[in-house]
């Protein structure tokens, strides 16, 4: 089965590395008084301190999660493909559910963007890894 639009397998590790890397960077940044531009009105302008801080933290995290979510499995067959689509469907479903609820009850649009940035990817990665874990566990029980 041809699986197009997926990154090679090693991208998964690169992705996790980016996600982990974002933690110390954002701790250091916040310790030095940086504010994420999505957290409130900061200074404007491209590539000033806070914009760079934003790139180093939020974008690093998102691109890391993106790579993890869309990297191939070791053997990417039709069952994995089906699990992937199913998890993606759930992620979109949950995302829009949260989005609709927060549209009604929350006025802070900035944080809604942030929510929208992470929820689908995060939920997808967790759900996808969980079903694969369950699949492998059922296998080891039967052999």
């Amino acid at each position: 089965m041809k699986s197009r639009f997926l990154f090679p397998y090693w991208c998964r590790y690169l992705g996790w590395a980016l996600v982990v890397l974002h933690v110390p960077l954002s701790i250091i940044g916040r310790a030095r008084g940086m504010v994420n531009i999505m957290d409130g009105p900061g200074s404007t302008g491209l590539f000033n301190g806070e914009h760079l801080f934003f790139i180093c933290t939020s974008l690093l995290m998102v691109s890391g999660l993106f790579l993890v979510a869309f990297a191939k499995e070791k053997i990417e067959d039709e069952q994995i493909w089906q699990l992937r689509l199913d998890s993606l469907r759930w992620a979109i479903f949950i995302n829009y559910l949260i989005l609709i609820i927060s549209l009604v009850f929350i006025e802070d649009v900035g944080h809604m963007l942030q929510l929208n940035l992470f929820v689908p990817l995060l939920f997808f990665v967790i759900r996808f890894r969980w079903v694969i874990y369950r699949l492998n566990r059922s296998l080891s029980r039967e052999v």
Partner: protein
Amino acid sequence: MKNNIRVERAIKNITQADLAEQVGVSRQTINTIESNKYVPSTVLALKIARVFGKPLEDVFMLEDED
């Protein structure tokens, strides 16, 4: 849908891993097909039947509720 892949494998004396390798899927997939948890695509079903050298309906068969 049910299947007798397990029986056919025993006749041919190959493991799940051997079959998986010959049709280009993971061992998990063969395992879930054998235990009727996953319904393979037509292409995969045809490939499996070809490995056993039998027509499709000797390996996969419909059940009453299908």
